[in-house]
């Protein structure tokens, strides 16, 4: 049992944090919003140079061949800055799927290319217009096409950095890759979205804490009032108890059984619930400022709304957990259970 992040994983988190802190501040997104851009080429290039797009790619496809736990720490940092670019969907979900099907694909040769994915669970495809390749689903099989080979209809999102599209396409104009592991793609996306949720949540709390120390009413900082403290303490409790669920889910994806799928769904629900609770508390603590375009909290709220409902709604994930609760052994010896663990105990 070793349920802690390794030094290497902590280092990844720090690299990502430093990189994002320099290049992805609210001023950066605000400039992008002004010109209607969803993608910052310079930032994305820096992030690719630092290897963040290669973490989950197998070594055979030029990647680092690392595991979900390694990527989850990066996703959390991406959430903390509300990173506009589709790092998670591209490098965390689509690229490894493409690599599993077509390791030689040209889109993988360029670490700064983005790849979009049309998962059957999602009605819309994020960032399809700027992608070097789009993964498409038909009857369990995967196809790949470029944006030029398909018809994209924009479906604007409340989150200015999530450019959504419906995709019409014809298999004759796409390349067939064969049967793909859509479940694995879903599990990865769910866990990384949950990790982003943790980052979004912590940022919303941190922004509110900073504000509550400065803003004065009745002659004192509002942060000295209990009602304000309790909003933020409650949000922090939600974060603290979502964090280990996300960590365990990321560590267990590889097991690919009912237990690990339930854990992934659990992570998806509570990671984003923490983000929602934190965003709401943060807006409340900021008062009318929190309701203004000028204050940064709303972007964290909007990203939270988007991530909550995509890659499986809360209802979808709750049903996956119900399958585990009502169909598999429950109880205190089952925390780290997997398909073979009860047998292992008998042999102990």
């Amino acid at each position: 049992m070793n349920f802690t992040l390794s030094d290497e994983q902590l280092m990844f988190a720090e690299t990502a944090r430093n990189l994002f802190a320099d290049s992805c501040t609210p001023e950066h997104w605000r400039k992008m919003m002004e010109v209607g851009a969803a993608h910052d080429d310079a930032r994305w290039a820096a992030l690719a140079e630092n290897g963040l797009t290669l973490v989950l790619l197998p070594e055979g496809a030029g990647g680092m061949g690392l595991a979900e736990t390694d990527f989850a720490v990066i996703a959390q940092e991406a959430g903390y800055v509300a990173l506009p670019e589709p790092l998670v969907e591209s490098a965390g979900v689509a690229a490894p799927m493409l690599a599993a099907l077509a390791p030689e694909h040209e889109a993988l040769a360029d670490p700064s290319a983005t790849i979009a994915i049309a998962h059957p669970l999602n009605p819309f495809v994020a960032n399809a217009d700027t992608a070097a390749a789009i993964l498409l689903h038909k009857d369990g099989e995967a196809y790949v096409a470029t944006p030029e080979q398909v018809t994209l209809t924009a479906q604007p999102s409340i989150d200015p950095f999530r450019r959504l599209f419906t995709v019409d396409w014809n298999p004759s104009r796409a390349t067939r890759l064969g049967v793909a592991d859509w479940d694995l793609a879903l599990d990865r996306a769910a866990v990384f979205n949950a990790a982003m949720g943790l980052g979004l949540a912590q940022r919303a709390v941190d922004l509110a804490v900073d504000y509550a120390k400065e803003r004065q009413q009745f002659g004192k900082p509002i942060g000295s009032y209990q009602a304000v403290k309790h909003h933020l303490a409650s949000a922090q409790v939600a974060i603290e108890f979502a964090r280990p669920v996300v960590a365990a889910a990321a560590a267990q994806i590889g097991r690919r059984d009912g237990y690990s799928r339930a854990r992934v769904s659990h992570a998806k629900i509570v990671g984003l619930e923490a983000a929602e609770k934190a965003a709401q508390a943060s807006i409340q603590v900021h008062g009318a400022m929190g309701y203004s375009w000028e204050v940064d909290v709303h972007l964290f709220l909007k990203r939270t709304v988007a991530l909550t409902q995509t890659w499986g709604t809360p209802r979808y994930h709750r049903e996956r957990i119900a399958v585990r609760v009502f169909g598999q052994p429950m109880g205190p010896d089952q925390t780290f259970a997997h398909e073979t663990s009860n047998r292992e105990l008998q042999n102990a």
Binding site: M1, N2, F3, T4, L5, S6, T69, V205, V209, A212, K213, K220, P221, G223, S224, Q226, V228, K229, H230, L232, A233, S234, Q236, V237, E240, F241, A242, R243, P244, V245, A247, A248, A250, A251, Q252, R263, H266, I269, V270, R318, I321, A322, R324, V325, F326, M330, G331, P332, D333, Q334, T335, F336, H338, S341, E344, L345, A348
Partner: protein, 384 residues
Amino acid sequence: MDLTYTPEQQAFRAGVREWLAVHVPEAPLEHFDASRAGFEAHRDWERTLKSGNWGMVTWPGEFGGRGLDLIQWLIFEEEYYRAGAPGRVNQNGIFLLGPTLIEFGSEAQKERFLPPMAAGEEIWAQAWSEPQAGSDLAGVRATAVLDGQDYVLNGHKIWSSRAVFADWAFGLFRTPGTERHKGLSLVFFPLDAPGVTVNAIKKINGHVGFAEIFLEDVRVPAFNRLGDEGQGWHICMATAGFERGLMLRSPARYQVAAAKLAELWSTHKETADPALEADVVRAYMNADAYALNIYQTALRLMAGAKIGPEASTNKIFWSELDIHLTRTALAILGPLAELTQQAPAADPVDWIDDHIFALAGPIYAGSNEIQRNIIAERMLGLPR
């Protein structure tokens, strides 16, 4: 990250399981707060545990423990709850005072107090609260005055769980003339010492679960002071860390309850509100999240960290999950919810009593309002 138990941990689990299967009493014992007989039956169970050397597994061997690490402790607790073993009548001693004694006590004190604690021969109560000092614990007024080799204790303690039948209490006392956090000392006194009057107070379920204690010139040897004079507040906060954090509520308790809730749902789902399924699933999620969090905390502590203000997040989380869980059970039971265990139609699990007990969770061990203040000030850095 490796989320599997080692073969040694698995073997340990199997050993605990085997021992409990042989020793756990078949019929449930009467509750330890319900009567003297129930209390003594639980004391006997503590002796049985001791006979297998399972009295307090994390303590060093010389004091009646096994010197196990926190992960082994969690495994032990998991098997304990899984087996439906009796509640620990001595939890104040073994889970709260014990670890504090190990940290702050002299060798002589450890030798004197720990082995009988592990054996169930001396059952402890916590005498901190007073009528005027609840949340504001630093306002205690009971006094301890050194007179030669003895302390003379005076004052009025209240809400001491188990004190009605217990043998000893650890109390928080003030050196006269000192104020607030200064000058407080932690002193042990026998509950049958001359000058001690214990009056039972009934809880809302009718059990004599706690007591008020009047102390009139009670003499105890200075040996009974834990730590230095004036160090009481510091020591009590360490105990409170155990209480809110890890030891008082191991996750297994809620995992068993969540499993029973899932069973209850399966039995009643034809008649219950379908929307309740989501609450049943949530109870599982909460218990699971709590377990994962505690495993991570245990591993951090084993790597040398100290429990900090995150103990307050634990306390809020377990107390709220417990209320949610038992409230869901009552909702599933519908008209059966109000039945006592004497009712022939009652569910075998006493959900209503569990719920009533759960309602105390946000009050004891420091109310949740106080825990939220601690989180806001010490974790988030908000001004006082």
